[in-house]
């Protein structure tokens, strides 16, 4: 048996085996340890205690909608929260099952390698919308155009006028801070 303490202060207990389902141990597919996965399960559960079961041995098909997930304190103020949750949801609509939830925080943890983070960052970022979200729309339209032009000028390697994944990854490899900024602590 293992105890975990919810952030509300209540103490819950459940069997450790319940989190591991016959599909294979969860912790070998993510960058988290078993203890951290149990802690994540606690966080997932407290978002909707009536819907999320404690028992995961039967691998229940439970998905939490986007509105609940983006109210988490780690994501609440992030301007990219909808894009993040959409990129990790299997159905593309933004509802996350527990697998997707763990996957999201695993990729955003500090143990994930640069290439994996670059792939998901590419999914999340869209050039024009990114600029608007970053600056809370305080740049004028002319400045946005100028910045977009300069960004594509700097980063476009094959000259097709678009930023493909290869260009993005090349740019990320030159940014030493990417690993530390694209990181959410949970």
């Amino acid at each position: 048996m293992m105890k975990f303490i919810q952030s509300s202060g209540q103490v819950g207990t459940f069997r450790t085996a319940q989190v591991l389902s016959p599909k294979g141990p969860l912790q070998d597919c993510t960058f988290f340890t078993r203890k951290e996965i149990l802690r994540l399960h606690g966080r997932y559960h407290e978002m909707a205690p009536n819907v999320v079961p404690m028992d995961y041995t039967k691998d229940p098909d439970v998905k939490l909608p986007m509105q609940l997930i983006i109210n988490m304190p780690e994501l609440k103020e992030n301007p990219f929260k909808e894009r993040i949750v959409e990129s990790f949801s299997e159905d593309g609509e933004g509802s996350l099952s527990f697998n997707d939830f763990v996957d999201m925080f695993s990729v955003l943890s500090e143990m994930a390698p640069r290439e994996l983070k670059a792939i998901y960052a590419f999914k999340i970022y869209d050039l024009e919308k990114t600029l608007n979200k970053l600056t809370r729309e305080e740049l004028t339209a002319e400045e946005i155009t100028l910045v977009c032009e300069k960004v594509i000028e700097e980063a476009d390697m094959d000259g097709d006028g678009k930023l493909g994944f290869a260009d993005f990854e090349n740019m990320i490899s030159k940014a030493p801070d990417f690993l530390s900024t694209f990181h959410i602590r949970i």
């Binding site: 103020e77 695993s106 600056t135 910045v147 530390s180």
Partner: protein, 790 residues
């Protein structure tokens, strides 16, 4: 969508003869392969992938910024060419499960075939590698997901287990998919393991080895997970990062690093020197009673304690020969192990410095690797990598948005000004101002150093007068505090003066401002410390009247450390708390003081330098420093949370962390190591106290030990001769420096070669892009021709 268009390409005849080998210049071969590709692609149109087309083109276009130039090139992209564009591997990354699986299958196959990769000279003759990616994608026979999955599992099985699990972890698949793959992997690996167990009982040796191996691995994983869970201050650091971002967080991480370094030094000295001396104390000396002032001055009650060099004995503990009279043979019948305390003292200090050196060099090389990057692509990096996802508080998020907005505007202005450079007049004016500012800064530093010098002499005279007059203990000890007080005061006030200079100077880029501030502060602290070190070693002014001068120097360093801590506390109190109250109540602004990371980190480095300088004279100084750092962490954190706001200046966290740890390694640690080496090699220890009393230099104890070894055991003369020829010969040092320079030169050349390869590859990429555009245009024109004909 009706029947596929029939495509014929009119290819001009090549001029080469048929007997030659095919090369990339042979256009016919290339066009044939593309001809096949186009046929395959057009067959896919019939397979009814229109739905995917719509989804893909939406996603593909979402990633690109539609440029006006682009529309002119492709005025009317036909659905077929759009589909081909959308199906390209570079566009399908992360969108289609099948595409990801096939891509990683190819990657795994390439990993396996790495040993069979053709050598570099033949690389120009191979076909373009991007073509190989099409094999799995467009081959209709392998279209099902299950078959692709099976292929991937097969490829993963051929890799070693650790590599395959690492590969699985780094794939951008959903977790459910990964679990299915892992289940299949373990299912297929399981029978092999059972097979292994079949033969195990026949060899009990092998079975026990397997058991032991598995047990050890389990223990190791448990230890690793405990280590991660036992990380101190995890929640505190999350709080700080969440509100203030990576820049302020780097200060606290640096503090943690220093704590760890001090812990190692302290542990080595504690285990080998302090504990043993505590267990076998020397002849008791009368100690003055404990008053509170000792905590500040380090004198009085603390003078004859474990804290300082003077307390330590120069005896060999448990020496079997000590109890027999001279002239008789030493009985060697089962004695308890003798322990040479002076030797232990010398070697512990040396080993702790060596361990610190190794840890620092490792830290520097690791941060260098992470932070080396070019300045080209600043704007793109700022747009995509500047957002700190760790920040979660509303006000800090708003501040971060404002930050990034300001930085983008600044970069745009800089780009514009780069295209319009300054006039000569302005340049000249700027140069003059800069020279003046630097002249003022260096002048003030020299003024400070001279002031400290004259103060030293004055204090010395006052001390002598006091000794003659035989004034009270309080007065005598209070006088000792004047010098540390003045030095700390200078260290606290001069940075503000340098800030004023910087405001007058008005540097172009804020990053240069930070660098210049750091350099000026560093010069001030280095000069003052060098003067003090010279005075300590020459004993002309400080500690000239003391018999046990090492204890005196240790006490001086203790006083400096305590005064430095006091001034840091006062600076936090006045600079942050009281300043915030003034801003809020008097000036009624919402602004709060900012946490000056560079200045605080330099103060930490200064404190650590003092510790390293004093390790030989006060072995418990690392413990004092650890206590100081612990208190500092909590005090700074509390003050930060209550009084400060996020920094408004731009900050490159990883580059700054590299600079800080390099500063810790080079001026600070190297200087302390040089000071220590000089003390050990050339300075005569005092006659009446300490573990090296009576010797000419501290190093002589090591030399004597080697001679004793030689005499006692003739078989290890090789060790003594090695010691004599290697360590005492200066030509070894010369050879080592030559070797080091050669290694550095080699690394520089390797880096240059790699940069040249990167340039060549970038050119190749640009050419590929042009080829792609050309082919798309040709495809488009062919499609239009066939459309017109039909």
């Amino acid at each position: 969508m009706s029947q596929p268009p029939s495509i014929t390409l009119h290819v001009p005849e090549g001029s080469e003869s048929d007997g030659q080998e095919p090369s990339p210049d042979n256009e016919r071969a290339l066009h044939t392969s593309f001809h096949q590709l186009i046929l395959e692609q057009s067959s896919l149109i019939e397979a009814g992938l229109e739905l995917e087309l719509q989804e893909r083109s939406r996603d593909a276009c979402a990633m690109a910024w539609p440029e006006p130039g682009q529309d002119e090139e492709h005025p009317s992209c036909s659905p077929a060419s759009l589909q081909i564009l959308a199906n390209m591997p570079s566009r399908t990354i992360g969108h289609n499960l099948g595409a990801i699986i096939s891509q990683y299958c190819n990657r795994t196959a390439r990993l396996r075939c790495r040993s069979r990769r053709p050598p570099l000279q033949q690389l120009s003759r191979t076909a373009r590698p991007s073509l190989r990616q099409y094999d799995l994608e467009t081959d209709p026979a392998r279209a099902t997901l299950e078959e692709k999955r099976g292929l991937l599992v097969k490829e993963l099985l051929s890799l070693p287990p650790s590599q395959s699990s690492h590969m699985l972890l780094t794939m951008p698949l959903t977790l459910a998919e990964k679990r299915i793959l892992r289940r299949q992997l373990s299912g297929q690996r399981g029978p092999l393991r059972q097979h292994a167990h079949h033969w195990a009982p026949f060899s009990p040796c092998g079975w026990s080895k397997v058991c032991v191996g598995l047990g050890c691995r389990g223990l190791w994983y448990r230890f690793l997970s405990m280590l991660r869970a036992a990380q101190p201050w995890h929640y505190a650091l999350k709080q700080i990062g969440g509100r203030f971002g990576s820049s302020v967080l780097s200060y606290f991480l640096f503090l943690k690093t220093l704590l760890m370094l001090n812990f190692f030094s302290f542990f080595i000295l504690l285990a080998f020197v302090v504990v043993l001396q505590a267990v076998y104390p020397p002849a008791s000396v009368s100690r003055p009673p404990f008053t509170g002032l000792e905590l500040l001055t380090g004198a009085g009650y603390f003078t004859h304690s474990l804290l300082y060099y003077g307390y330590y004995n120069n005896v060999t503990l448990n020496d079997p020969c000590s109890s027999t009279p001279k002239g008789t043979v030493c009985p060697l019948a089962a004695p308890p192990l003798p322990y040479n305390l002076p030797l232990a003292y010398l070697f512990s200090v040396g080993v702790s410095f060596l361990v610190t050196c190794i840890l620092l060099v490792y830290g520097v090389s690791r941060s260098f690797r992470e932070s080396v990057g070019s300045s080209v692509g600043d704007l793109a990096i700022k747009v995509f990598c500047a957002w700190d996802f760790k920040v979660i508080q509303r006000r800090s998020v708003k501040l971060q948005c404002e930050n990034i907005c300001t930085q983008l505007k600044e970069l745009l202005v800089e780009r514009r000004s780069r295209s319009h450079p300054q006039s000569h007049c302005q340049c000249l004016g700027h140069c003059v101002v800069m020279l003046l500012a630097w002249g003022l800064a260096l002048g003030s530093v020299s003024g400070c150093v001279l002031a400290v010098h004259y103060l030293l002499e004055h204090m010395h005279m006052v001390q002598q007068e006091q000794q003659v007059q035989d004034s009270g203990r309080w007065q005598q000890e209070a006088i000792l505090l004047v010098l540390p007080l003045v030095v700390s005061l200078l260290n606290a006030l001069m940075p503000h003066f340098f800030n004023l200079l910087a405001m007058w100077e008005k540097q172009d880029s804020p990053v240069t401002q930070v660098y210049v501030a750091i350099i000026r502060n560093l010069i001030l602290k280095t000069m003052v410390l060098m003067l003090l070190c010279y005075q300590w070693l020459s004993r002309s002014v400080i500690c000239s009247t003391e018999e046990c001068w090492e204890t005196c120097v240790g006490q001086d360093l203790y006083r400096f450390m305590v005064m430095d801590f006091t001034f840091t506390l006062l600076d936090t109190l006045f600079g942050e708390l009281i300043w915030r109250l003034i801003l809020e109540k008097r000036l009624k602004t919402k602004q709060r003081p900012e946490f000056d990371v560079a200045r605080n980190v330099l103060e930490l480095i200064y404190g650590q330098t003092l510790t390293w300088l004093g390790i030989l004279f006060a072995p418990l100084l690392p413990a004092v420093q650890m206590l100081k750092l612990l208190l500092l962490f909590y005090i700074k954190k509390t003050s930060l949370m209550r009084n400060c706001q996020s920094p408004s200046k731009p900050w490159q966290a990883s580059r700054m962390s590299t600079i800080f740890i390099t500063l810790l390694c080079f001026p600070s640690f190297l200087g302390a190591a040089a000071f220590l080496s000089y003390t050990i090699w050339s300075v005569q220890p005092s006659e009446t106290c300490g573990p090296f009393r009576g010797l000419e230099t501290i190093y002589e104890s090591g030399k004597r030990w080697v001679l004793v070894l030689e005499k006692s055991n003739p078989t290890i003369t090789w060790f003594a001769s090695v010691y004599q020829h290697l360590l005492e010969n200066t030509s070894l040092l010369f050879l080592m420096s030559v070797a080091l320079i050669a290694v550095i030169y080699f690394n520089i050349q390797v880096v240059r070669g790699r940069q040249r390869v990167i340039c060549l590859l970038q050119e190749q990429l640009a050419n590929e892009g042009e080829d792609k555009v050309f082919l798309m245009q040709k495809l488009q024109s062919i499609y239009e021709q066939s459309h017109r004909r039909s």
